[in-house]
């Protein structure tokens, strides 16, 4: 498996390739999901002054918020959040979790993305972990609803972080995206 330095370096070099795409799939080594998610949340790839919604499939807000807070130096401010919380302000990251209910994550997304003037981009990680808890149809529906939010312009950008553990979910992510960044090799 590629090491941390190699992955972060490749990610840094490849950012221009995904900066302008609205739908992006990032294939990450499964043991480096934290590093890749962190980088994607903090990196300057998000329009609208960096307001980011992070949909965490398999990790609770607490540890993620701590991670983002600690490492996003000069980047977005992280909110300890849940779907009931207030809309994040510009330059903030809101974490949303929903292991067993991807639909709820998308609903929360609508609430948090705010007014059309202050739209947010989103990062999902780790998409493939949804496969442990949800049917294929449910995952497909989850992506369809994200696509819908993009069309409605409720969100401006969707970055799906996944790994290669599920061939089916990987193919869904690829089908969904306009740009792909493979960090797993």
């Amino acid at each position: 498996m590629p090491n941390v330095q190699a992955v972060v370096s490749k990610l840094r070099q490849s950012l221009p390739l995904i900066r302008d795409a609205r739908k992006v799939a990032v294939i990450a080594p499964p043991t480096l999901m934290n590093h890749v998610s962190l980088y994607l949340v903090c990196a300057p790839i998000h329009p609208d002054a960096g307001k980011v919604l992070y949909l965490s499939v398999d990790r609770p807000n607490r540890s993620l918020a701590r991670l983002f807070d600690r490492h996003c130096n000069g980047g977005p401010q992280v909110l300890f959040g849940n779907p009931e919380m207030d809309e994040p302000r510009s330059g903030e990251v809101a974490c949303i979790t929903g292991l067993f209910a991807p639909k709820l994550m998308v609903d929360a997304l609508s609430n948090l993305s705010g007014s059309p003037e202050s739209r947010a981009s989103m990062v999902v990680g780790n998409l493939s972990a949804l496969g442990f808890y949800n049917s294929n149809d449910r995952i497909k529906e989850f992506l369809r609803r994200i696509d819908e939010k993009l069309k409605e312009q409720a969100i401006t950008k969707a970055v799906l972080v996944t790994d290669r553990t599920s061939g089916y979910i990987l193919s869904l992510a690829r089908e969904f995206s306009e740009a792909e960044l493979d960090l797993s090799g």
Partner: protein, 229 residues
């Protein structure tokens, strides 16, 4: 559900991965239990060394108030460890002084998580965890449950070592909260030499080998003689 395999990290112990479908499930918590001299710390170091070799980050938390130089002095006997890894791929963190001043479980957990958030390791060792049980105020079982849950949330494989007391099979309170239980033991051969054994008692999500397997522990580290009993 979509069919998916568990991700596995190689243990770094020759022979052991063959006993468990290729390695420890990632993320998961492993209890390595055994009496004095059975090789708990050696196994844990070998696990971190494998990670360092693969370019992963590891943290070795010691609870024994043992300065780095003492640990390095003993560890230098092992061919599998490179001194250069310490401070880089392997962070050595002495929890001893913190535990002397902080006995509240929540403070201890916060402190451990601070270090993990800072270094973002894929491999974590807490050696020996049983010492913490003697020092904390409040429920040790609740602390262990919280610890195991939080460690997994950080997306790492965590090896916790536990001392087995005379007359005890393994530390029962720890065995409930971990995903994997590896038991190290010894006996005396008829010739009077002490033989060492490794046995996987429990491993969630894995078809693992059962029964005691003979191990060699030398400067090269642990080697499991799979099938030799």
């Amino acid at each position: 559900m979509a069919a998916q395999d568990l991700i596995r990290l190689k243990s770094g112990i020759p022979g052991m991965d063959d006993m468990m479908e290729g390695g420890f499930p990632f993320p998961s918590t492993i209890l390595v239990a055994g009496g004095a001299g059975t090789g708990k710390t050696s196994l844990a170091l070998q696990f971190l060394a494998k990670g360092a070799q693969e370019g992963e980050q590891g943290i070795f938390f010691t609870t024994l108030s043992e300065p780095t130089q003492w640990m390095l002095r003993f560890a230098s006997r092992y061919g599998f460890l490179k001194r250069d890894w310490f401070g880089r791929q392997i962070k050595y963190i002495d929890l001893g002084p913190f535990l002397m001043d902080n006995t509240q479980p929540s403070r201890i957990l916060e402190h451990i998580e601070e270090q993990i958030a800072e270094h973002m390791p894929q491999r974590i060792v807490i050696d020996p965890l049983t010492v913490v049980g003697e020092m904390i105020q409040g429920s040790y079982r609740t602390f262990l449950y919280d610890l195991a849950t939080r460690l997994k949330n950080w997306q790492a494989v965590s090896v916790l070592t536990g001392e087995v007391l005379p007359g005890q099979a393994y530390p029962v309170e720890l065995s409930y909260v971990v995903d994997t239980l590896v038991l190290l033991s010894t006996d005396l051969s008829p010739e009077g030499t002490r033989r060492k054994y490794l046995e996987i008692l429990k491993m969630r999500g894995t078809n693992h080998a059962t029964g005691k397997n003979l191990v060699d522990l030398s400067a090269k580290g642990f080697v499991v003689q799979v099938g030799l009993r």
